[in-house]
Structure formats: structure tokens, C-alpha cells
Amino acid sequence: MADELHEAFLRLFTRCEPELRAFVRSCLPRLQDVDEVMQEVSLVAWRKFGDLDDRGRFAPWACLIARYEILKYRRAHARNRLLLDESVIEALADEAAAEMPLHQRRLVALESCFEKLPEARRELVLAAYTPGTSQKELARQMGRTEGALYQLLSRIRQELWRCVEHTLAKEAGAS
């Protein structure tokens, strides 16, 4: 029985974890903050999983837990960090919860947008995002300043964001 519970939890959590993480991240941009909150979310969700009557509602239920944990985290760390005001987090959380199903489509669209980038830019992005890469070292290898590299990556990210939004809008128009 306990095994079934574990497995059911893991399947549900693993399935909605990307959306949940995106949800948390939309309120807390720092990876470390996200990791800490996600760890708490996973533990709280697991502890309370037995009380969840309708497993079909796992994602919104976990989202509620995440929202509470984000606010808790904010209260604990707001003195030391640049963390958004609670009212802003509430607004972001409301909309992010409603947008959770969109996350998958965003990632699919991002893949095709990424493929449209010139090869050199794709390589640059992959290099910049490879775990352990130092932006400073990458800039040095490219013969640019760190600031110039940041600006270039910023343009690429914004370009990708526009492409994704455009793709989603086109999909919405077509359906």
C-alpha cells in the first residue's frame, strides 16, 4: 500500500514538476531559491499526499503548496535578498497557476525557435548555459567584455521569447 502511494506520488510529481518549477521560478528567479523552495514543496506535498482525495487535481494542489512555500520563503529571506513584494508574488502566482498547461507548449515552441537561430548563436547559447561555464571566461575566449556578452545573450533570449510568443499566438489563432 505504501509502495502504491509512493509510486502514485512520484508519477504525479514527476509529471507536473516542470510546470511547478516554472511556476516557482516565475516568482523567484534565482536557481538556488527555486531549488530550496522546490525541495520544500516536494517534502510538504509528499507528507500531505495521503490527504489528497482527488489525484486528478494533483497539479493545482501542488501549485497551492508551492505558492505557500514561495511566500514562506520570501518572508524568511526578504531582508537579505531582492525578492518581490508579496502582492506582486500573489499576482504572478495567480496567473502562473492558470498558465501551467502552457508551459509544455512554450518549451516545444522554444525548441523550434532555437533551431531557427544561426548556428553560431546556437553554439554560443549552449556554451553559455553549460553547467560550470564562467561567463567571464567565455567572454575572454570570444574576445568580448563580460558586459558585451551579457548584452548579446540578452538580445538572443528576448529574440527567442518574441519567437515563442509569436508561435503561441499563431497556434491560438489557428485553433
Partner: protein, 517 residues
């Protein structure tokens, strides 16, 4: 939304926003739903690119894209996120670089552990057992607290049973699988014999038989009857007189009087029916077999609950060894470096000259004198440091050995300064204590049942503005603490031993992970 607004959002996403610009960002997000949507979109781009880079790296090193599924999924297809429902895909994803980063190492470890345990558990419980090897009529597949009769042969899980194989079970349960596919759960006291691949004989005691192949047949002979089953589940009880009682749980069973008793009568029993044949060969339907319930399955051993995830994200693949020493070898510890004994690290031990000897006989650092040994080290922000040693206190009563961080290098004192833990020789109360420090201030926790030879670990987390320390015995966290101000005076890692105590120390290890990108 202006380009300046977008740049502001981007700076926030990239964690480059300044304190001066932050109020403007908050105003923008408070006022504009477009800005909030753009923020979510930019975050998704950021996360997606991280995933792609991790997948790309995985492809370079492992020849596959991280988390790439081999299963059908009705969701929109994305190599980034399409994980599917398959167990292998899930484990593969969790162990991939992207998976580890997404879900975090501690949770991934727990998740994978639970998945593997669950899968193994399901496998054990599956009714669709693999066929027995050719020539084997039956096999014992599970036992529960068995006590075997003196005159019988002790049996073990996995024993293969040939024709005439006898089980004389005084107490407990035994589960036997027959080559025909039948499963018998025997409940002691009972005497049961394997006759062939589809027949057993129950001379006394109780059994439950299950046959889930409708094309097969299985029979149980008793001193008074033959019970024949074709794809069903039933219980048989044979008492000391040889009377046979049968109860059918599922399907149909034929209960016949044994031919040697001169009878040719039989009863067809359906689910819920019961019947009996007495020692004289009289057959009848009955209401109930016995007050006691039949045992349908052998209970599986109770597994310990899964361990909670560690409260820090230790990823061994990213760990850098600062110092490692097996403590195998000979000579005094004072003045030695790990290099040359299979370890790394050039720092040399500052230790008492006597009584701190590397002992080839016990292959350990054998400490017979009070004091402490130090390795110079200064922690830096942004790291996880993991300090561990395998420790066994072999003499000393309330005396103890300890591990942790220190400021001074007084080799005569056993008390350390910061984030340290001790184990006493006596396995009574306070066998394990941890201290936040300084010295013995900030007593944290006890793990009094965690005695004997165990690996003690202290993890110092300097990644946040408030440093944390975690104390572990083997894999169990026994205490943790938070420092309001970083203990900036740490200058060593240390091990120590209390007066009149003898300790054996092995496998010293000190590692770090730089957590800030």
C-alpha cells in the same frame, strides 16, 4: 511594453537586477499583466535553454539526450520535457543531468530509490511468476517465521522440491510454487508433500491453493479426499483424524472421496461453498470450515520507510577532494600529508607526537592519547564542505572521539570550536552529541542508538548569508544548526579524542562543492 521594460525584466530573470532598479521592476509587475506574462515567458526561455544545454552535454558524454523518452505520450512532444510514463524513462530522466538539476539531487536520489524499491516489490508480488526450470516440480518462494519439525528437513527460500519433497512445518508460513502454475500457501503446523508438477498431498494442517491458469489443473490429496481445482482459489484443512474440509474462494472445485476409502462420491463446490470428507469417507456440504481464516499469502518482510531527502544538495559528481586519507599505514600522524598514502591534499596534520599512530594491524589511526589533530583550512562563501571519518570508540566509558571545525590548534584539548560532533564509548544516553559551538555551546541532538563503527559527517553550507551545519551518522541527519554570523575564525578541520579513550579512525575525507555559478 517598452524595450527598457523588457530589459528590466530580463535583468531580473538573469539575476542581474540592481537594488536601485528593483522598485521600478516591482511597480512594472504590479501594474502590468503584460509585463507579468513577459516575465513568465522569459523565465521559460531561461529554463528551456538550461535544459537544452544540459541535454546537449549529456548527448556529448552519454550519446543520448537527457530525459529523451522512448514511450508514447499524448502531450505535445518536446525533447526537453516529454518524459513519458515508463519506469525506465523516469529513472533515466531523474539520473540525467537535466533531471538532477530540475528535481535536485536529494529528491532525485529518494525518487529513484523509491521507484526501484517499488518496482522490485511489484516484481515480488506479481502473480505471473517465471516458469520453474525444467525438471523442477515445485519451489519454495517465500517463508515467514518458519519453524521446522525436528523429524523433517529444514527448508529455505528458493529450495527446489522434487517428487516426494516433504515440508514439515511446525509454525509459520511457506509459499510453494508448482510447475503447473499453482501457488500453495502452507500454514504450520502442517505436513505437505510434493507429488508431481500439479499435485501435492496434505496430511495435516491447512493450505490455500491458487491457480490462475484456467487451462491447467491442480490437485491436493489428503488422507480422505482429493480436491481438484481448475483455475481457482480454495482452502483445505486436514485435522488430526484425517477429516478434510474445503472452502472455495473463487471458481469451482471438485471435492471427491479418496478411492481407497471405497467411495466414488464427489461434490462440486462453487465460490463461497464449503464441504468435507471425514476419515470414514463420508462427504457433505458444510457451512463453514473452521473459525480460523485461511492465510492467502505469505506476508512480505516489512521494509523500513524511505529516508527523507538530505537537507543539502550534495552532488558527488561535482565534489572536489580537499583532503583524503585512508589512515592505513604506519607511523605518527603528526607532520604527515595524505599524498603518498592514496590520498590527495598537501596540508600536513598537526597532531600530538605520541599516541596518534597509524596502526597497520587495525588499518586505522589508533588514538590512545588525549588531544586533537588539525588540518589547516579556511572556509569560503558559496560552498558545501563535507567532512567525514569512520569512527569506532573502543575504550573510554564516557570518553569520546569527535570531528568538526576548529579555530585554534591546541593539540592537548579534545573540545573543538565550531560545528563538531562526538561519539562516546558508552552506548547509553548522549552517545552522540553535536555542537554548533563555540566549544560545547549550542548542543544540538542525540542519536543514541547510532553506536559502534559508523561514519560521522559534518557538512558546512556556506552558500547563503547565514551558514548552516548538518551532522550525520551514516546516512542519517542527527542535527543541524544555522549561524547568524558566519564563524569567520574557522582555521582548521579537526578530529579529537577525550582523555582515557581509545578510538579507531578510518577513511578520513574532506570534500567541497562550489555551489555558485
Amino acid at each position: 511594453m517598452t524595450q527598457a521594460d523588457l530589459d528590466l525584466l530580463h535583468d531580473f530573470v538573469a539575476d542581474r537586477i540592481t537594488a536601485e532598479a528593483f522598485p521600478r521592476l516591482e511597480s512594472l509587475l504590479r501594474a502590468s499583466s503584460d509585463a507579468r506574462r513577459a516575465l513568465r515567458g522569459l523565465m521559460a526561455v531561461e529554463e528551456g535553454l538550461e535544459e537544452m544545454a544540459a541535454a546537449h552535454l549529456s548527448a556529448r558524454y552519454f550519446g543520448t539526450r537527457a530525459g529523451q523518452p522512448q514511450v508514447q505520450d499524448t502531450r505535445p512532444k518536446s525533447a526537453l520535457s516529454n518524459l513519458g510514463d515508463g519506469f525506465a524513462a523516469m529513472v533515466g530522466f531523474l539520473l540525467s543531468p537535466a533531471g538532477l538539476r530540475r528535481i535536485g539531487l536529494p529528491l532525485a536520489a529518494v525518487v529513484v530509490g523509491i521507484l526501484i524499491v517499488s518496482a522490485a516489490w511489484r516484481g515480488l508480488q506479481s502473480k505471473a511468476r517465471p516458469a520453474l526450470p525444467p525438471g523442477v516440480l515445485a519451489q519454495i518462494v517465500a517463508l515467514s517465521d518458519p519453524v521446522w519439525a525436528d523429524e523433517g528437513q529444514p527448508r529455505h527460500e528458493g529450495d527446489r522440491l522434487q517428487m516426494g519433497g516433504l515440508l514439515m512445518l511446525e509454525r509459520g508460513l511457506a509459499e510453494i510454487v508448482f510447475a503447473c502454475g499453482a501457488t500453495v500457501v502452507l500454514e504450520g503446523p502442517a505436513m505437505f508433500e510434493v507429488r508431481d508438477a500439479s499435485t501435492g498431498r496434505l496430511d495435516r494442517g491447512r493450505l490455500t491453493a491458487t491457480l490462475d491458469r484456467p487451462t491447467a489443473a491442480f490437485a491436493v490429496h489428503t488422507p480422505s479426499a482429493v480436491v481438484t481445482d481448475r483455475g481457482t482459489q480454495f482452502g483445505v484443512d486436514v485435522d488430526a483424524t484425517g477429516k478434510t474440509a474445503v472452502r472455495v474462494f473463487q471458481g469451482i472445485v471438485e471435492l471427491a472421496v479418496l478411492a481407497t476409502l471405497g467411495g466414488a462420491e464427489s461434490l462440486q463446490l462453487s465460490a463461497g461453498d464449503a464441504g468435507e470428507v471425514d476419515a470414514a469417507g463420508r462427504i457433505a456440504r458444510i457451512d463453514a470450515v473452521a473459525p480460523k481464516k485461511f492465510v492467502m499469502s505469505v506476508p512480505k518482510p516489512v521494509k523500513p520507510p524511505p529516508k527523507p531527502p538530505l537537507p543539502f544538495a550534495w552532488d558527488q559528481t561535482r565534489a572536489v577532494t580537499i583532503y583524503r586519507d585512508s589512515f592505513e599505514g604506519s607511523g605518527p600522524l603528526d607532520g604527515t600529508a595524505a599524498t603518498g598514502r592514496g590520498g590527495v591534499g598537501e596540508a600536513k596534520w598537526i597532531a600530538p607526537a605520541d599516541g596518534w599512530l597509524l596502526d597497520p594491524e587495525t588499518k586505522s589511526l589508533k588514538v590512545t592519547a588525549t588531544g586533537a589533530a588539525f588540518l589547516p583550512f579556511r572556509p569560503e562563501p558559496g560552498h558545501l564542505y563535507r567532512l567525514s571519518v569512520t569512527m569506532q570508540v573502543v575504550e573510554g566509558g564516557i570518553g569520546w572521539a569527535a570531528l568538526g571545525f576548529s579555530t585554534a590548534t591546541n593539540t592537548r584539548l579534545a573540545t573543538l570550536d565550531h560545528a563538531w560532533m562526538l561519539q562516546r564509548h558508552e552506548a547509553k544516553a548522549q552517545a552522540n552529541l553535536a555542537y554548533k559551538g563555540p566549544q560545547m555551546a549550542g548542543e544540538l541532538s542525540r542519536g543514541d542508538r547510532l553506536t559502534g563503527r559508523q561514519t560521522r559527517t559534518v557538512v558546512l553550507d556556506t552558500t547563503g548569508p547565514r551558514w548552516k551545519a548538518f551532522f550525520m551518522v551514516s546516512d542519517e541527519v542527527v542535527g543541524q544548526c544555522v549561524y547568524d554570523q558566519p564563524p569567520a575564525d574557522i582555521a582548521n578541520v579537526a578530529i579529537s579524542v577525550f582523555p582515557n579513550t581509545v578510538a579507531l579512525l578510518r577513511e578520513f575525507s574532506f570534500q567541497s562543492i562550489h555551489m555558485i555559478r
